[in-house]
């Protein structure tokens, strides 16, 4: 969308000044941070404005809405949105609220519609968001009502990267490509293995966790360390053995980050996939790896199913190999709605797609072996901060300070060894950058 085509019917949030003395909360040079960012309401309200109302947020996958009128509903921060395929193939998104009295206009998660009619007073909107008519329209016409000024509030910018749809509520946000930057090089590892694209299968699984939204996001950005401890029993059940001690093979493993987006990985090709306990999925990874190497080079071909995890700042995460994609949707400082999907290569055999679907369900769903382990940790990491004195005590994030390296192939900031907290530090540094910046121009490149 061109900058001069700003939606008529959209007001950005009133920008409040940044909170005072934000540096007290995050000191990444020393590797420590305040627990208050996981609990205090005024900080949370600022996150909604300074982060969620500005950055590019994940909205869905193009495969969910192939035809005109196909839609999904989701949220951007706590703003509910409706994402709709247009007649010309473009994708638009709107706040899922009627401009008349504010009622929700679409109640289902996914579907196809000719348009959206508000249940309250019968305001009817086209799939392009335009107000088409109202119940008792004659009365509005008699009072000089101009329908063209009262369409759905349109999300300022929507774009996609190799199948993943993102939107931003900020007309001044830089283009998506710039927002992803060099991180797109890593994303291609999952999104562009063979040039035939990817798809989401099996719908969206939604669950609620009583945790701060950043705990999930930072965990996926860089925390493989927890796997060998938290997931020990799960790994033994699924793999028949413990998670390897990853620091003992640090030469071939990395933390990389770009502007707060983080990916931790090693080059074992199949480690994450193995947690399904399904040898057909492992066989599939081994089979496709040589072709991926031809297209993306050897290094990325060894990342397609390896022990790894990633987060696109601020709240979209995924696990290569298990192929769970997820958004940690904030619902207050101490609650999230977790939305998850399963991504597969379009070209994969149907039987393999089904094995991925089952695999993500038994590992990373509300009843998944590993998700249950994580949820408990995230919830208590959040809840202990209700203690007024506890909340004053800083947290340690200093693991791996000094491990930065120059790498001949890997773009972004590269750190040696995936047992590290470099990506978590980069994540919270980016959080701090956004919380402080009044405009995009003030944001440093990281």
């Amino acid at each position: 969308m061109c900058k001069n085509e700003k939606p008529i019917n959209f007001k950005p949030p009133r920008q409040k000044a940044a909170l005072d003395d934000l540096d007290q909360y995050v000191n990444m040079a020393e590797g420590r941070m305040s627990r208050k960012v996981f609990w205090e309401r005024d900080i949370y309200e600022q996150e909604l404005e300074k982060i969620f109302a500005r950055v590019w947020l994940f909205l869905g996958h193009v495969s969910q809405i192939p035809k005109a009128g196909d839609y999904v509903t989701t949220s951007m921060g706590e703003d509910d949105v409706l994402v709709v395929r247009q007649k010309d193939g473009a994708i638009k998104a709107f706040l899922n609220t009627c401009p008349h009295r504010g009622n929700r206009v679409c109640f289902s998660e996914v579907g196809n519609a000719r348009g959206f009619i508000c249940n309250y007073h019968g305001w009817s909107f086209g799939i392009d968001g335009a107000l088409r008519g109202m119940h008792e329209s004659g009365a509005y016409e008699a009072s000089g009502f101009d329908k063209s000024q009262h369409g759905l509030h349109e999300v300022a910018q929507v774009d996609s990267y190799k199948g993943l749809i993102f939107g931003t509520l900020d007309p001044a946000a830089p283009p998506l490509k710039e927002y992803l930057g060099d991180f797109a090089w890593y994303l291609d590892t999952l999104l562009d293995m063979d040039g035939e694209g990817t798809e989401f299968i099996g719908g969206c699984v939604r669950s609620v966790m009583k945790c701060n939204w950043k705990f999930g996001a930072e965990n996926f950005a860089g925390d493989v360390m927890h796997a060998g401890w938290t997931h020990d029993s799960g790994a033994k059940a699924m793999l028949g053995g413990a998670v390897p001690e990853l620091d003992k093979c640090a030469g071939d493993s990395y933390h990389v980050n770009v502007n707060g987006h983080g990916w931790e990985f090693n080059l074992d090709k199949v480690g994450n996939s193995a947690t399904f306990g399904d040898k057909e999925v492992r066989r599939y990874i081994h089979e496709i790896q040589p072709k991926v190497a031809e297209r993306l080079g050897h290094t990325r071909s060894m990342m397609i199913g390896s022990i790894s995890s990633a987060t696109v700042f601020p709240n979209m995460s995924f696990l290569p190999g298990q192929n769970t994609f997820r958004v940690w949707q904030p619902r207050g400082p101490d609650e999230i709605e977790l939305h998850t999907w399963t991504l597969v290569n379009k070209s994969a055999p149907e039987e393999i797609k089904e094995r991925y679907r089952r695999g993500t369900m038994i590992t990373f769903s509300p009843s998944g072996v590993f998700e249950m382990d994580d949820g408990e940790n995230f919830e208590y990491s959040t809840r202990s901060n209700r203690g007024r004195v506890t909340r004053e005590q800083d947290l340690f994030l200093g693991l791996g300070i000094g491990t930065r390296i120059e790498h001949p192939e890997l773009p972004g900031n590269v750190f040696q060894g995936q047992i590290n907290e470099a990506n978590q530090r980069a994540y919270y540094q980016r959080w701090l950058d956004f919380m402080k910046a009044e405009s995009w121009d003030e944001l440093p490149q990281r």
């Binding site: 000719r114 009619i117 008519g133 119940h135 004659g138």
Partner: protein
């Protein structure tokens, strides 16, 4: 009495399509249902909307583009919420390749409907 007015050439409106046509005193909607032509008043009887912009559903009904209420095209009958008032229908006359409406007569289906 007949008030016969020329509408369009039959070849100009394909089966499954509708068109708004200006006549004196308002618009009518002309529908081609599998080769048979039907004419009704074009304005939805519920709220301001052009039924010729609606979608033909179930073979012989039109869904209003605004609130998706439906009318039965041959008889003009209002079929579903929020529509309660029937459409006016017009008798369609085909002569050669030309389509006319008699603005003083309703459709045969409407005339014979209970």
């Amino acid at each position: 009495m007949t008030k016969k007015v020329f509408l369009i050439k039959a070849a100009e409106l394909r089966p499954g399509c509708a068109r708004k046509i200006d006549i004196e005193g308002g618009d009518l909607a002309l529908f081609n249902l599998e080769g048979k032509f039907y004419a009704t008043s074009n304005l939805c009887t519920h709220a301001t909307a052009s039924l010729a912009d609606g979608e033909i559903v179930g073979g012989d009904c039109v869904a209003c583009p605004v609130h998706f209420g439906e009318f039965h095209i041959p008889t003009g009958q209002a079929m579903s919420f929020p529509c309660t008032v029937d459409l006016r229908t017009y008798k369609v006359i085909e002569e050669g390749g030309d389509i006319y409406a008699d603005l003083d007569e309703e459709s045969e289906e409407a005339a014979s409907a209970i």
